[in-house]
Structure formats: structure tokens, C-alpha cells
């Protein structure tokens, strides 16, 4: 899959801005805050939005000129549920199978198989209205696999689910990738999802890719190695000035009640930071040392946090 300067403008607003991207046979994550352009990008790739400029090929077909062929080769799980809640899982799947022209016998076999995979086989015949959010999402994911697509697009697959349901959905997504070996494109604003699930991640902001690579590569791009979170009760200016001058500190970002300090070596930095606070009249509440996350990468590139 490849995009060629793909662009989408809504009036004056540019949602996706001349974006070039190549995705191979992998689990690919599009990470970014809400409104970054991830969903718009995905909607263009799945042919429901036409690009203002540029184009892309998905599963070997052009999304503008050969939209029909793209549609036959992709599976899509949209953000909003598209299930018919009055129908059962079986009926929902069956209808979709008919949209793709899958022969009856083959259709029924695959439906049984797939419902088994996501643990819905025993409730396949009750109306979807009685399903939990997680069950619905699992059903939508296997429904999108019915026609054996080459690429599966998942738009925020775990948004709105409780932690347990999220874990189950992610587990199945991982399993599906292992069993079927298809390309997965996942948009998400959850860091752990991108970090644990994806082979490669593109960080998207303001319609552009601001960082691209495996989660490890992305973190390596950030100079320094560890993050020290220093929660304080009081922070005289002297502390901040001294910290900024210190050579073990790479970058500091300040919140109302804490500092996130990017340092070269966490084990060495923690005692130094504590001493600096003591010497300059600051009061600490807690100091935590942690590894870099993709949020730190995002923060490093954009100056903002994904969590905001």
C-alpha cells in the first residue's frame, strides 16, 4: 500500500496534507490526537472519501480509478458501529457475505469458523442488540474478514470499551494477524495499543506524518534514554534554572504540579534531581523513573502531549 501526496481539504481546513506513506505486509499503526487526520486518511484509503489531491494504491489497486477493486480486497471496521442490531450475529455476517457475493456454502462455513475465533459461536443466533460493546466490536472485526481481504482497516477499534473488553479485542486482533497474515492498518490514540500491537507506527499531527518507524526506533530517535517524572509541592524558579543548566538533562516540560524531564541516564539523574530540589528550596512529592513511551516521542516532535 502506498500513498502519493494524498491530500484532503474541507473548505479552508486541510485534514490530510500531501502525505506520502508506504505500508507493507505488517501491522501498521496511525497514532495521533483526535482531529489529526487519521480517520480522514483511512476513509480515503477505504474509498469512502475522495482525495482533493494525490492518490494511493491499496492492495494493488488505485483508490480513485479502481475503487471497486479496492473495495473487494479490503475489510473495514469503522469507528461507529454499522451492525444491524435487530439481526443476529449470524444474519449480520450472512448479509455482508452476500454483499461480497460469497457462495452460500462457503459463506456459512466461514461464518461458523470466524464466530468461533472471536468466541461468539454460542451466541450467534441472538439479536446483536443484546451484545456488549466488546462483543459487537469483535463481531464487526470478523465480519470484515469474511471475504478474506488482503488489508484490514480498523478505525479506533477499542474506543469506548472497558479495559477488559479492550484487552479481549486486542488479543483477537493479534491472533487474526498471526493466523491470517493479512496487513492490518489501525488508527488509534491509545499509546499502548500502538506500542504493543504495531510493527510500525506513523505519528500523525495536523495531517502530516511527524514520525515514522517501529516503536523502538521511534523511541531511539528521542535523544536521551529515560524519563523522570518529578511531582512537586513547590518549585522555586532557581530549581528550574539549575535543571536547565545541568548537562544530564535533555529536555524539560512543565505541568502545573510536575515536571517531565528527559534525561540521558535515569539511574544517575534521579539523585541529582533530588539534590537540586533540596539545594534550591524546592519541595518534591514523588520522583518516578520510567522508560520512554510513544507519548514522549509525540511530545518531543510536537511539543504537546497526546494525553492532553
Amino acid at each position: 500500500m502506498q500513498t502519493f501526496g494524498i491530500t484532503k481539504r474541507f473548505g479552508d481546513f486541510t485534514a490530510v496534507d500531501h502525505l506520502n506513506l508506504e505500508i507493507g505486509h505488517e501491522v501498521f499503526g496511525l497514532l495521533g490526537p483526535n482531529g489529526a487526520g487519521k480517520t480522514t486518511l483511512q476513509r480515503m484509503l477505504v474509498t469512502v472519501l475522495s482525495p482533493t489531491e494525490g492518490t494511493a494504491t491499496v492492495a494493488g489497486a488505485d483508490i480513485v480509478r479502481e475503487a471497486d477493486r479496492v473495495r473487494e480486497r479490503i475489510g473495514v471496521v469503522t469507528q461507529a458501529s454499522t451492525l444491524d442490531i435487530e439481526l443476529s450475529a449470524m444474519q449480520n455476517m450472512n448479509l455482508y457475505g452476500m454483499y461480497y457475493g460469497i457462495p452460500r456454502k462457503q459463506r456459512q462455513e466461514r461464518i461458523r469458523e470466524l464466530l468461533e475465533v472471536v468466541g461468539l459461536a454460542d451466541r450467534a443466533k441472538i439479536p446483536v442488540a443484546g451484545y456488549s460493546g466488546g462483543m459487537k466490536r469483535r463481531l464487526e472485526i470478523v465480519r470484515a474478514l469474511l471475504h478474506e481481504p488482503e488489508v484490514l482497516f480498523l478505525d479506533e477499534p477499542t474506543t469506548g470499551l472497558d479495559p477488559q473488553a479492550r484487552a479481549a479485542v486486542l488479543e483477537y486482533v493479534e491472533k487474526i494477524h498471526e493466523d491470517h497474515g493479512i496487513t492490518l492498518v489501525i488508527t488509534t490514540h491509545y499509546l499502548d495499543e500502538a506500542e504493543n500491537l504495531c510493527d510500525r507506527v506513523a505519528i500523525v499531527d495536523h495531517g502530516k506524518i511527524v514520525a515514522l518507524g517501529t516503536p523502538t526506533e521511534l523511541k531511539r530517535q528521542v535523544a536521551g534514554g529515560d524519563i523522570v517524572e518529578a511531582e512537586f509541592l513547590s518549585l522555586p524558579n532557581a530549581v528550574l534554572t539549575e535543571l536547565e543548566k545541568s548537562d544530564f538533562v535533555v529536555k524539560i516540560s512543565r505541568r502545573s504540579d510536575g515536571l517531565t524531564i528527559l534525561v540521558k541516564n535515569g539511574a544517575e539523574a534521579v539523585p541529582k534531581i533530588v539534590r537540586l530540589f533540596d539545594a534550591n528550596g524546592g519541595k518534591l512529592r514523588a520522583v518516578t523513573l520510567r522508560e520512554l513511551t510513544l507519548d514522549d516521542v509525540f511530545l518531543n516532535v510536537t511539543g504537546r502531549s497526546l494525553r492532553e
Partner: protein, 364 residues
């Protein structure tokens, strides 16, 4: 928006219903069959025409009918049956001879009483004209000769509530069309359900026809239930069901309902397909519904409508649906009588379907 709709609805009702009920029946087509050839029958017809063109005194100048010369009685009765004319005036053979022999003659006027309002207006006026004709003849020296008009009903007595029933069925279909053809589509678009279809290889026409057919099924359930309820509650007695059910008549009635549902749902789908706001769609479909219902002849015959309303009626699919249903329900008409209505409804459906498919966007 709600404010606008609360004003538009009643205003439309006032204008359309007021204009329809306020207008007297005019130009109702009446067939005249002249089996006797002579001076008296020609004079008689001339008197009727004078009545029609308001040359008699000119006090009450509004006449309800318009004469059409028809060569033979069979054709005239066929026209009455198909609803092309509201009445048939038969001037019998021997009319001139009898009058010349100073005796009484009877002119039979067969009224299409399935249209109670039109026939109630036409009958007395024809009688009045014949009295005038009679007295003209008497003063011309044929003292004992006279013309009596015998008003006959072509069908069993049709009550106004029965006259109104077909329009009600059509309106039930329209309600389903507004919901199934439009609201459902716009709401599904808002909810993202349509996006689920757009990512599949389904074609534009497949999606639109899917919307159409699912709507037709809903409309049929609704209208058949209403048909049965109307018979049970209001006591209407369609002659394709009473006293003995006529399978052909019922089949044709069902076919009319299917065609009507296809046409109206295709129309509302074409209207809704680009709509992005369910509220706006709901508010605007309300006046569309009222306009079509009031101009269809559902509650007042077309003969009584002002010209501008008749112009709307001609392109209004509900007009043809109501017309066909009345023929089938109260005249026991066959296929031939309603073929014209079917052709219009089928052409209308095709046009609206093409519009809906053309307007449907295969993207968000």
C-alpha cells in the same frame, strides 16, 4: 425550523383545501349519445350547450358540465366506466318522432355516482336544462309534448367516506415513503450505517434499490392492515371484496398499491439522497405530503379544483393512484380501465429511481 413548519402546514391546508372545496364543480365531462336525429333532439342538445356556456339568462352562470359528443352508447358507457366522463346522456331513438306526436319522452342520464360530489352537481343541472327545453317545445305549439329526465346511478350508492378511502390508503403509503425512503436513509447516514455499505463492493443502484424494496415491503404491510381496518371500522364495502371477493380485482388493487409505493418511495429517496439533516428532511417532507394529498382528488373531485391545482394534479402520482383505486374498488374495473394510471405510475417510478441513483453519492 419547527416554527416555519408549524406555519407552512396549516397555510398549505388553507390554500389547497380552501381552493378545492371553495370551487364549484365545473367542466365535468359528460357524454351525450344522440340516437335520434332531428330538429327536436338538436334543439335539446343546444339547450344543454346553452346551459353550459351560460347564455340562458346568465344569472347563475357557473355550470358544472361540459358536453362531449359520443357516437354510440357502448363507447359512452365504457368512458363512464373508465372515469373519462362523469355522466352519459342518452337521447333515445324515437325522441323526435315522439315529440312530433305530442307525447312524452324520457331521456336517461347515467351518473357516475362513485364520485358523489360531481354527480350531485351535474344531475340537477341537466334536469333544469331539460325543463327549459320542454317549455320551449310546448310554447312552440306541441302542448302535450314533454321531456323527462331520468337520473340513474351507474353503480351502487357510494358514500363519501368510501370516496375518500382510496386517498387514505395512498397517504398511508406516503407516510411509509417519508420514513422508509428518506428518514431512514438520512438517519443511517448520520449514524454511519451507510458508511458500512460504502466500504463494500455494493453498487450505487444496488443500495438505492435495496432502500426502495425494503420500503415497499413495509408500505404493503401498512396499507393492507389499513385496508382491513378501514373495512372493519368504517364499514366501507369495496366491490372487489364484497359481496364476493374478486381475485382479479384484488390482484389489480395490490398491484396499484405496489406501483404507488414504488413511485412514492423512489421519489422520497431521490429527495433525501443528498440531504444531510434529518430535521430539515422531516420538516420539508410534511408540506410535500400535504400538497400531493390535497391535489390528488382524494377528498374532493378534480372537477371542482381551480386550474392551477389541476396542473399540479396532472403531474401528481397520487392522482393516478387514487383514480385507479376508485375504479377498482367501486366500479369493479378491469386492467384496461386502469392501464393508463399504471403507465403513469411506472414511468414516474422509473424517472425517480434514475434520479435517486444519479444523485446517490458513492462516498461520504
Amino acid at each position: 425550523m419547527v416554527m416555519v413548519s408549524t406555519i407552512v402546514g396549516p397555510l398549505l391546508t388553507l390554500i389547497l383545501l380552501g381552493s378545492a372545496f371553495g370551487g364549484a364543480i365545473t367542466h365535468a365531462p359528460v357524454a351525450v349519445v344522440q340516437e335520434s336525429d332531428g330538429q327536436y333532439s338538436s334543439n335539446f342538445i343546444a339547450t344543454l350547450r346553452d346551459q353550459q356556456s351560460c347564455q340562458l339568462g346568465g344569472i347563475n352562470c357557473q355550470t358544472s358540465f361540459q358536453l362531449i359528443d359520443v357516437p354510440d352508447l357502448d363507447t359512452a358507457q365504457q368512458m363512464l366506466h373508465e372515469g373519462t366522463v362523469r355522466a352519459v346522456i342518452l337521447i333515445p331513438s324515437g325522441f323526435d318522432d315522439a315529440l312530433a306526436a305530442h307525447s312524452k319522452v324520457i331521456v336517461t342520464v347515467t351518473l357516475d355516482n362513485t364520485d358523489p360530489l360531481s354527480s350531485a352537481a351535474i344531475g340537477p343541472e341537466i334536469q333544469q336544462a331539460s325543463q327549459q327545453s320542454s317549455s320551449l317545445i310546448q310554447t312552440s305549439g306541441l302542448g302535450l309534448a314533454s321531456i323527462t329526465v331520468d337520473l340513474e346511478s351507474a353503480y351502487r350508492n357510494v358514500l363519501y367516506i368510501e370516496f375518500m378511502a382510496p386517498g387514505t390508503f395512498v397517504q398511508a403509503i406516503m407516510f411509509v415513503s417519508i420514513i422508509a425512503g428518506g428518514v431512514q436513509l438520512v438517519v443511517d447516514k448520520e449514524r454511519g450505517i451507510i458508511e458500512g455499505y460504502l466500504v463494500t463492493p455494493l453498487k450505487k443502484y444496488e443500495i438505492v434499490i435495496g432502500v426502495l424494496l425494503s420500503g415497499v415491503i413495509k408500505a404493503l404491510f401498512a396499507v393492507v392492515a389499513l385496508f382491513v381496518l378501514a373495512i372493519a371500522v368504517t364499514g366501507i364495502r369495496p366491490m372487489n371484496v364484497f359481496p364476493t371477493p374478486n381475485l382479479m380485482g384484488i390482484a389489480l388493487t395490490m398491484f396499484t398499491l405496489v406501483l404507488t409505493a414504488l413511485g412514492l418511495i423512489a421519489m422520497m429517496t431521490a429527495y433525501a439522497v443528498r440531504s444531510t439533516s434529518a430535521d430539515l428532511y422531516r420538516v420539508t417532507s410534511f408540506p410535500i405530503n400535504l400538497t400531493l394529498y390535497y391535489t390528488s382528488g382524494a377528498i374532493y373531485p378534480l372537477d371542482g379544483m381551480p386550474a392551477w391545482m389541476k396542473e399540479i394534479a396532472v403531474i401528481n402520482p397520487e392522482t393516478y393512484a387514487v383514480h385507479a383505486l376508485r375504479l377498482l374498488m367501486y366500479k369493479g374495473a378491469g386492467f384496461q380501465a386502469v392501464a393508463g394510471d399504471f403507465i403513469f405510475l411506472a414511468a414516474f417510478t422509473a424517472l425517480m429511481l434514475v434520479l435517486a441513483i444519479a444523485a446517490f453519492r458513492r462516498s461520504l
